[in-house]
């Protein structure tokens, strides 16, 4: 498979502050790649190097096989970009903004931008000044899709979008993927990435912790299960089950909080031998997913 994005030992320091360090990342043509990490992990730094807004301290980055520092104009022509810190010209209307960025890309037909705005339910005739943060985000997306780029680089694309619009956005990325275009999106929300990405790269403290397919990630993700029983239960029986990472009993043994890696099947079967009054399952959140990976890659993960 051809790599649309490739970084080789990419490091970026801002003075002494680390942005990213020794990052080796490869995104294949046609895939949707989720770049996952908490705020400040280095996601935006990586993206800004790809677009040549900032220059690497060491290592290199290529987009479409072109060196980011040498061929930024050609790369920009073929990339649609949504910044993480989105700001636009306040006095323009949505339509005018599309016309301006369209013109700078030699795109005079704004049909695609209007279509995306329509799908996301955005009124392009109003001035940007009057937009809510959600509307600004929608316009940012319309602008990124405008020239039907072969690579979409979207930094935290669902920021500020309400759940219904998020669904519409997932539809747009699915559509782009179906057309064979590449989507590279950053996020700090695990379920979102699970939902739309083929592969996921997890970054933390400037280091790429792991790259995995979503299926692998799901298998590894920690889930939290809270069980409430009719009578006190011996917590130690749960500790012996494979995959259970932690067990914390409460309320005199009537409540048990579990962290489980992978399938919860064995835990449910064990629990069903007792009277179960309630069961609450928490979607494994990102921090917990990270923990699952750190326990394996502790050495490289968070030094310095």
């Amino acid at each position: 498979m051809t790599a649309v994005i490739r970084t080789s030992n990419l490091s970026k320091f801002y003075g002494k502050i680390r942005g990213v360090e020794d990052l080796n990342l490869e995104v294949h043509a046609g895939e949707t790649f989720g770049f996952l990490g908490p705020n400040g992990a280095g996601k935006s730094t990586t993206i800004r190097v790809l677009l040549d807004f900032i220059r690497p301290t060491a290592g290199s980055a290529e987009v479409f096989g072109l060196a980011a520092t040498e061929h930024s104009v050609e790369i920009h022509r073929r990339v649609g970009y949504l910044p993480g810190e989105l700001a636009m010209y306040e006095r323009m209307t949505g339509e005018e903004l599309l016309r301006y960025f369209g013109a700078l890309r030699d795109v005079t037909d704004l049909a695609e931008g209007r279509r995306v705005a329509d799908i996301l339910d955005l009124d392009l005739s109003r001035t940007i000044r009057s937009y809510s943060s959600g509307n600004r985000q929608k316009l940012g997306l319309a602008q990124a899709f405008l020239h039907r780029p072969e690579l979409l680089i979207l930094d935290e694309p669902t920021n500020g979008l309400d759940p219904l619009i998020q669904q519409a956005f997932y539809g747009l990325t699915a559509e782009a993927a179906a057309e064979g275009r590449t989507v590279f999106l950053s996020s700090h929300i695990l379920p979102e990435v699970e939902r739309i990405a083929d592969r996921v790269g997890i970054i933390r403290g400037g280091h790429l912790v792991t790259v995995a397919s979503v299926a692998e990630l799901k298998a590894k993700a920690l889930r939290r299960l809270e069980l409430r029983f009719g009578e006190p239960v011996d917590a130690t029986t749960f500790e012996r089950i494979a995959g259970v990472r932690s067990v914390s009993p409460g309320d005199g043994g009537r409540v048990i909080d579990l962290q489980i890696e992978g399938s919860v099947d064995a835990v449910i079967k064990e629990a069903s031998r007792h009277e179960v009054i309630n069961l609450v399952s928490h979607e494994g959140d990102l921090e917990e997913a990270f923990l699952a990976f750190y326990s394996e890659s502790e050495e490289g993960a968070d030094v310095r």
Partner: protein, 267 residues
């Protein structure tokens, strides 16, 4: 209006620009309107002027008190050697600052840079917009003075007014391109405004006052004001000295191109 950085930059000024024009017209208009009165009471005024210290006269663009009492001398001191030029200068500084430092400060630069527009072109088109609008301001003064001259019998020459108006534009663009340069190098809006405005005021006073002190008189030659105002274009017409300002503008824009090309753009 939205097909290039150049035209968009001009569009940005659609509501504000008229006030700069009004300001310049006002100072020009008030100045020439006072001329007939001044001429009538010239004796009293002469006494007053001669009482002023030499430095004060210098600051207002006159070598000696009597210069104020000629039409061109009076217009020069009020429009070209002080308030009028300052309006044009601060307009150019505002354009030079808005270009890169302003966009970086407002965080709109990311989206602009993500388009296939080379960084050089952003600098050059921003400067072109600044040059065009500053030239419009100078043209407004040019027209106003040429219209007023025969009506009020000021005694201006077309050559002098033309040379002085072009000089005003060059003077303004010297500081405007300095702002563009500092913005391109640092991306810091308040630093750009602060330094450029400070340099403007400082060089204005150096040009006026340094000649009074022999040991630092040479510093006058470091100021853009010297290369224009000390040669009285309104009286003497075209000379070579204002070309020094053209050279300064070329150098500042050149450094802006070089600096912006190699710099990280921050968020």
């Amino acid at each position: 209006m939205f097909d290039s950085v150049f035209r968009k930059t001009i569009w940005d000024r659609k509501s504000g620009f008229v006030w700069w024009v009004v300001g310049l017209l006002a100072i020009t208009g008030v100045t020439v309107a006072f001329w007939p009165t001044l001429q009538r009471d010239s004796d009293a005024l002469m006494d007053l002027m001669e009482g002023l210290p030499e430095g004060m006269l210098n600051l207002f663009g006159a070598e000696e008190a009597s210069a104020f009492l000629t039409g061109p001398g009076f217009v020069n001191s009020r429009v070209f050697a002080s308030v009028g030029s300052f309006i044009a200068i601060f307009f150019a500084i505002s354009m030079g600052t808005a270009a890169i430092a302003g966009e970086e400060d407002k965080r709109t630069l990311d989206l602009l840079l993500a388009t296939p527009t080379p960084r050089d072109r952003i600098v050059l088109e921003s400067f072109a917009a600044q040059a065009v609008l500053t030239t419009v301001l100078a043209t407004v003064v040019w027209i106003a003075l040429l219209v007023a001259d025969p009506l009020l019998d000021i005694g201006l020459s077309v050559t002098g007014v033309t040379a002085a108006s072009i000089g005003m534009a060059l003077l303004a663009l010297s500081f405007g391109s300095l702002a563009l340069m500092i913005g391109a190098l640092t991306g810091n809006r308040s630093l750009t405004v602060g330094v450029t405005a400070g340099v403007t005021i400082a060089t204005f006073f150096i040009n006026g006052l340094a000649p009074l002190i022999d040991s630092i008189a040479w510093t006058q030659k470091l100021t853009p004001f010297y290369w224009l105002l000390d040669h009285q274009p309104l009286v003497n017409g075209f000379q070579w000295q204002p070309l020094v300002l053209v050279a300064a503008i070329v150098v500042f824009v050149g450094i802006a191109l070089w600096g912006f090309r190699r710099r990280d753009v921050t968020v």
